[in-house]
Amino acid sequence: MTLQHYLVISAILFTLGIFAVLTRRNAISILMGIELILNSCNLNFAAFSRFVTPSDDINGQIIAIFGIVLAAAEAAVFLAIILAIYREFGSIRPDEVDTLKG
């Protein structure tokens, strides 16, 4: 249970999140990918807070808490926009939402 364990897990989560964002064919799946990314960040902060900063310094943890809150807000808005897209386009496939281009 070294710092590197946590960092590797976080890196895997981040990478998978990126992969999801790049390849999933559903807007909600993309949102899930984003959540993975944010989780990896939070995990990083928490891990650094535990290992790097002095033990009474829990700033990293607090940042992670804020991260969770921000993720929630973002998810709410994201889903609202997905709904609007669904309403207008009848689909939430990201590649079908492409009237603006060039």
């Binding site: 829990i58 607090i62 808490i65």
Partner: protein
């Protein structure tokens, strides 16, 4: 580091997190993906516990699993009748997308691994297992009276904005 129950559980959580995250990214059924995500979030919460971040772990479970995931499921329900993503990957474009996405993600992963492995400051920091006092009180102090007061207030405004915005956008237009 000796192989104790604790480490066993840690690896269990780690594996659970990574494996379920992999499922999130790969399964076709979006509901399945959502449930896999739940497992991942739980896994991360578990890891927080290992990091002695009890309040954080609780927040993770409450906000993420209880809030965001439910929200996502609602989203799934409201936007599509069928939860399956297209079964076959037909077009070359899609295959190309998978390939390119994979390459980029892999490249990033390799870079991050290199960094993690090659940063001396992060090496050999072993969790000595010392028990820390519960963080909740401290966090409350920091947030309400310490340096995190301002972020806290701003985030509250942010949440308000998000609420208003989400309502505004998802609300069906009434046109005269």
């Amino acid at each position: 580091m000796e192989f104790t129950l604790k480490t066993f559980i840690f690896y269990g959580f780690a594996l659970m997190t990574v494996a379920s995250a992999l499922l999130v990214v790969t399964v076709r059924n979006i509901v399945h993906a959502a449930f896999s995500l739940m497992v991942t979030l739980f896994g991360v919460a578990g890891l927080y516990v290992f990091l002695q971040a009890d309040f954080l772990a609780a927040t993770q479970v409450i906000v993420y699993v209880g809030g965001i995931l439910v929200l996502i499921l609602f989203g799934v329900m409201m936007t599509s009748g069928h939860f399956e993503m297209p079964r076959q990957i037909k077009s070359r474009i899609e295959r190309g997308q998978l390939l390119l996405g994979g390459v980029v993600a892999l490249a990033l992963f390799m870079l991050l691994l290199t960094v993690i492995a090659n940063t001396p400051a992060w090496k050999n920091l072993i969790d000595d297992g010392t028990e820390l006092p519960p963080t909740t009180e401290k966090i409350g102090e920091f947030i309400l009276a310490g340096e995190f007061l301002l972020p806290f207030e701003v985030v509250s405004v942010l949440l308000l904005v998000a609420l208003i915005g989400a309502a505004l956008i998802s609300r069906k237009e009434v046109r005269d």
